[in-house]
């Protein structure tokens, strides 16, 4: 137990390091560019809309406080961090004076929900089917499934999402075109609302599953085709242990360890995928927020979303890492 805590502590340090470097990169990117972030941001956000001069002045103040260029770089850096650690990225320029963090927190549950459902579904089903496909290499259905996923797999995600939308919301309109819930509904814990959320989530989730499933299916199938020649599998076969038992407890169980590592590695990429999903299906998550912020030049919002994304992905990886020793008894918790 004490070993496990030490292991968790070590991983936690790593988490801090990742978040720190990620957010710092974001900070330095904005500062090392030749453009004065404050003026550029104000120019960009005032270009399209009529913002009252008072707000502009307030904006300049907060921006200078946050990214202020009038003090040395290291001080800017510490100033920035002292605010960020308490979750203060300043007010959004677009929806002034709402704090950016409020916008981010409002969007976060949508993205987390989308990610959680798709990752769980694709990882579980993909690995399960992949294990059987790798073990029963001559099974016709699994072979066909393999071919189908193999041909979907390399298509850029955007196209899959777009085609799904076209097919199921346009040509054969059984599902809503976009949004997180039906327009006009109030966000509350009512059946109508929850049902509407679920209905709206089907398409984005479906498109993510179509792509994600293949990743795990093919990965697992490849792993399994190696594991079946391991001594312990051959030994179990010689003992006449039943096939499903061999697949699940001997083959799949051993392949889950590397697949868990792969999951930790893939979370960043999956997140990028959801940005597109949210854009295609006008889903109200972090991705949509990011795109909107970029397009409207909302400096603080872009920085906040990027930072939160880095942190969220790092936390997800951290959680997956913590599961590792539970799955593999051999890991000497260092």
């Amino acid at each position: 137990m004490i070993n496990y805590l030490l292991f968790a502590a070590k991983r936690f340090l790593q988490l801090i390091a990742v978040v720190f470097s990620g957010v710092s990169v974001a900070f330095f990117v904005s500062h090392l560019s030749p453009i004065d972030p404050v003026e550029a941001a104000i120019r960009r956000s005032t270009r399209n809309s009529n913002v009252n001069p008072e707000a502009v002045e307030k904006m300049r103040e907060t921006l200078t406080a946050l990214y202020g260029v009038d003090v040395p770089m290291w001080q800017q850096f510490t100033n920035f961090w002292s605010k960020v650690v308490v979750g203060d990225f300043g007010p959004s320029l677009l929806s002034f004076p709402t704090p950016t963090m409020d916008l981010v927190l409002r969007a976060l549950p949508w993205t987390v929900g989308l990610l959680l459902v798709t990752i769980l579904v694709t990882w579980c089903i993909g690995n399960f089917l992949g294990a059987f496909a790798g073990y029963f290499q001559d099974n016709k259905y699994l072979k066909t499934f393999g071919l189908v996923t193999m041909s979907i797999q390399p298509i850029p995600y955007y196209i899959v999402a777009f085609l799904t939308l076209m097919l199921l919301a346009f040509i054969w309109p059984i599902l809503p075109l976009g949004g997180g819930y039906a327009i006009g509904l109030v966000q509350e814990w009512s059946w109508v609302f929850v049902l509407s959320v679920m209905k709206h989530a089907i398409l984005p989730i479906l498109s993510l599953i179509m792509v994600g499933l293949g990743l795990w299916f093919l990965g697992m199938r490849a792993l399994v085709s190696n594991i079946i020649s391991e001594d312990y599998v051959v030994f179990a076969e010689l003992a006449g242990v039943s096939k499903p038992k061999i697949v699940i407890s001997y083959v799949m169980r051993n392949a889950l360890v590397p697949q868990l590592t792969a999951l930790a590695m893939a979370i960043g990429g999956i997140f990028s995928g959801t940005v597109i999903t949210e854009q295609v299906f006008s889903y109200p998550g972090l991705g949509s927020l990011l795109v909107r912020a970029v397009n409207s030049g909302d400096y603080t919002l872009v920085l906040a979303v990027s930072s939160v994304a880095v942190a969220a992905v790092a936390v997800a990886i951290f959680i997956v890492d913590l599961l590792h020793p539970l799955l593999d008894p051999r890991i000497k918790v260092e």
Binding site: L6, K10, K332, E334
Partner: protein, 304 residues
């Protein structure tokens, strides 16, 4: 006495824990011996897995550093990280033979390069004809020929042939010491003795000192002059080979001998384990004790 190799109170500890722990494993514990350049011999290190025999060999070759104590080769400290010219000088005198002949040669590469490189780099001979002659001479010494070996890939040869080639390669630079770590354990039974006999002829015909590392008491008896028997990093018995193996004094040595399967009474399975010896050995395990010297010059570890 012209000292070729001096191993002085060598200790090797490995860190077994991770970043946060300080667990240490003592792989080799206070081992000392000396080899004489003018009196070539086969010096055998016997031990089971985990006895530290391979670690000791790696330290002698400079592939591992010592934690305490030192290893001197012709008076100079053996150091794997020394500069290239020092290291090259060391390699001209000390050469290894590895355990798995199929692993000792890069499977993707022809065997030639090891022989050619040794001749060119260590002997600093550039002329291709001369290189060829030297390689052929040395292959002859191990009963092979240039035509049999050159241009071949490792998988085209048997384990025995590969191991003999490895020895021929080591011989190219006329070394005074050969360190052979389990050189026959991966070789087929019908080819094994050719390697063992070769080690013997290196000593007798070419004056090479051989450190022979093995777990096999019978081949040790067959070729060794002196032996040390190691248990969990400690030397438990050392001295003249045949007297020790004929009549081991330390319980662990006795246990090893008693566990050797004999073919003398084939068909009447002599399999009863020496339980009494195992018990004594287990009782003594972990104790350091003291080395006592007997009149036949052997040293035996004894516990009070």
């Amino acid at each position: 006495m012209n000292k070729l190799l001096e191993v002085k109170n060598v200790v090797k500890k490995f860190n077994t824990g991770g970043l946060f722990s300080n667990k240490k494993l003592t792989a080799v514990n206070d081992v000392s011996f000396t080899l004489d350049k003018n009196k070539p011999e086969i010096f055998t290190i016997i031990g089971e897995s985990g006895s530290g025999k391979t670690t000791l060999a790696r330290m002698i070759l400079g592939l591992e550093t010592t934690t305490h104590g030192e290893i001197l080769h012709e008076g100079k400290r053996v150091d794997g990280n020394a500069n290239r010219s020092t290291r090259m000088n060391f390699m001209r005198s000390v050469q290894p033979v590895f355990q798995n002949p199929f692993e000792a040669f890069n499977p993707l590469k022809k065997i030639d390069q090891y022989l050619v490189s040794t001749t060119k780099e260590l002997l600093q001979i550039e002329d291709d004809e001369e290189v060829k002659t030297i390689i052929d001479d040395n292959l002859q010494k191990v009963g092979l020929s240039h035509a049999e070996i050159m241009g071949r890939y490792p998988h085209e040869l048997s384990g025995g042939q590969l191991q003999r080639t490895a020895i021929a390669r080591a011989l190219i630079c006329n070394p005074s010491l050969l360190v052979a770590d389990e050189p026959v354990s991966m070789v087929d039974a019908s080819l094994k003795m050719s390697i063992v006999n070769l080690l013997q002829s290196l000593r007798d015909d070419f004056g090479v000192n051989v450190i022979y590392i093995t777990h096999d008491l019978a081949t040790a008896y067959y070729i060794s002059d002196r032996i040390i028997i190691m248990q969990k990093g400690l030397v438990v018995e050392m001295g003249p080979a045949r007297p020790i193996l004929d009549d081991p004094k330390h319980p662990y040595s006795q246990l090893l001998k008693a566990s050797v399967l004999s073919i003398a009474d084939a068909g009447n399975g002599q399999l009863a384990p020496a339980t009494d010896l195992i018990e004594i050995v287990n009782r003594n395990e972990g104790q350091i004790g003291k080395m006592r010297t007997y009149e036949d010059t052997r040293q035996v570890r004894e516990y009070s």
